[in-house]
Symmetry: C2
Subunit: 357 residues, 2 copies
Amino acid sequence: MEDQTIQITQSHSKKQKPNSEQLEFGRIFTDHMFIMDYTVEKGWYDPRIVPYQPITLDPAAMIFHYGQTVFEGLKAYKTKENKVLLFRPEMNMARLNLSNERLCIPRIDEDFVLKALIKLIEMEKDWIPTAEGTSLYIRPFIISTEPYLGVAASTSYKLMIILSPVGSYYKEGIHPVKIFVEREYVRAVAGGTGKAKTAGNYASSLKAQEVSEKQGYSQVLWLDGIEKRYIEEVGSMNIFFKINGEVVTPELNGSILAGVTRDSVISLLKYWGIPVSERKISIDEIYDSYKNGSLEEIFGTGTAAVISPVGELNWEGEKMDINNGETGPLSQKLYNTLTNLQNGTEPDPFDWTLEVK
Amino acid sequence: MEDQTIQITQSHSKKQKPNSEQLEFGRIFTDHMFIMDYTVEKGWYDPRIVPYQPITLDPAAMIFHYGQTVFEGLKAYKTKENKVLLFRPEMNMARLNLSNERLCIPRIDEDFVLKALIKLIEMEKDWIPTAEGTSLYIRPFIISTEPYLGVAASTSYKLMIILSPVGSYYKEGIHPVKIFVEREYVRAVAGGTGKAKTAGNYASSLKAQEVSEKQGYSQVLWLDGIEKRYIEEVGSMNIFFKINGEVVTPELNGSILAGVTRDSVISLLKYWGIPVSERKISIDEIYDSYKNGSLEEIFGTGTAAVISPVGELNWEGEKMDINNGETGPLSQKLYNTLTNLQNGTEPDPFDWTLEVK
Ligand SMILES: Cc1ncc(COP(=O)(O)O)c(C=O)c1O
Ligand SMILES: Cc1ncc(COP(=O)(O)O)c(C=O)c1O
């Protein structure tokens, strides 16, 4: 696949670019997209960049019935010097293949897809917004396309990459969010698809999200599906707790997503000499640390929000006020450092950013 | 919605109908399909029957990313007198709404969708094959279509019904199948989406299915996701055990599908005066009953296979030979009775069949 050239079809009419200040998340898409097809006989073939356009599928295409699909999410940032930066994109490519493995989808050539992604970003670089907190969200995804109603892995797929200029995921910005600890619904369980980035995990989360929003909470904190006791992750973020000077986050147990931001936060903390550990954490432990005053900060980590401080945690009606509902100093420092690295306003000692030339 | 008329657009060219003897499952589709759209403003609107054709969606349509979708599966049968029968279709409509509820998809008007389904079957009745074991498989499904990458319930949907003439789901017919008891992977867990008929449940099952097929097993028997001890169901069937003259099947615990065939089998057994109970059943109990010789029969139940006798159960390398690998008398009797009712060759004391006039 290395040698395949990417066919490019330019869009005739260019869309109007949105006002940087009014951007939402994931509603507007750029002029072009990348597509590549797969069949058992040909492997991945016909990589191409074409005008952003609807896709046409047989109503029996497997994606509509059995949900065999995976996706990724990352961002491109524009620096003050007009350089375009990606943040650890090779981790997203690797995770896409981990998800593929769980969902019985054929592997991609990570280097090639990253090359294609970079080519697309190059073409669309004028779409990258520059206002504070904005970026170009990149959504690679693979869908199963065989028109067949048997429950089996599809024999054909489409990989696509679409781009969306975005504002802050959380309209409140870096302000703390209120999180509801979910007791009834379960998102994922060991042996399930929790560690893969696949549609079904998100579909199953909608109900709990809806219920918690009605009660004024913006996200759900999932507990493990077995004992409903150990902390897993938030809707689309991993979660960290600062207790008595030490930072803890749930270990990668097979049912949570291995977040790129999570990994970056752990590396930064180690670099700064702040103690951090990945382990099982029970909700009781968090409650106890809250009660005895040693719970200092809670924050979520994810590509969309970067760092999202938690101001309140509601566990079975017990409202835990975290850091007086304010953004804690560590959350703020992590947010500043990560966004500075991503925007190229701080030197990158980790070699995390990749410049799109 | 009751008053909406269904617009009909006839297909100009009719496809060649397949040879009844060579039919597979779910590969060939008829000349027409039903579609109806939903938006928050309009509700369900524009019900129409149109030529079977591809559908066109924005690449950002939510179905491709977050899997918010539900489906159903039922069949139309042709009797010797050329009457067309449906089997308990109102149960599928009711289950579609149960699935909708779990997936945050707007309710459908069950009577109206059943009316639309019947209208479509009327138009396509020449597609119903008549050879033994064949039928017209009916697949209603709903997909989320809003082009938006935020994780939230979609504000627009499409409901579609497509039809596929099918042979026996299991190529071996009523011959016993070999089933592998899954220990590593999990399909669903209490609080998850197991009781809903939604794509993600099937996507997550592919891996275990693939592994077990490599070992010569045609299906996987799922255990509960928590203790991996209690029996749940098979890939696309519920499961029954006959032990010492009594029939047992797992209770509807929230993580298995409430099968229409399951319900029909329970009713038939009661009608015949055969003791049947719905309860928790551990795999150890099955193994013990196998060892002490009281395990008489095992069979799966589902629309596709009707009754599928199990000839071997492999639990952690222990191969349990069931009824010498032969179809047991109760499995056979249930199969005969159900297919006779469905095909109209036996009087229907339960009022289960609905004639399409
Ligand atoms: C379920 C879930 N957990 C965690 C994350 C955070 O991962 P990342 O930091 O790679 O964005 C995401 C994705 O955004 C997610 O969807
Ligand atoms: C997971 C699962 N269990 C059980 C069944 C059996 O249900 P029914 O008898 O309604 O076909 C099905 C569907 O066919 C299924 O997909």
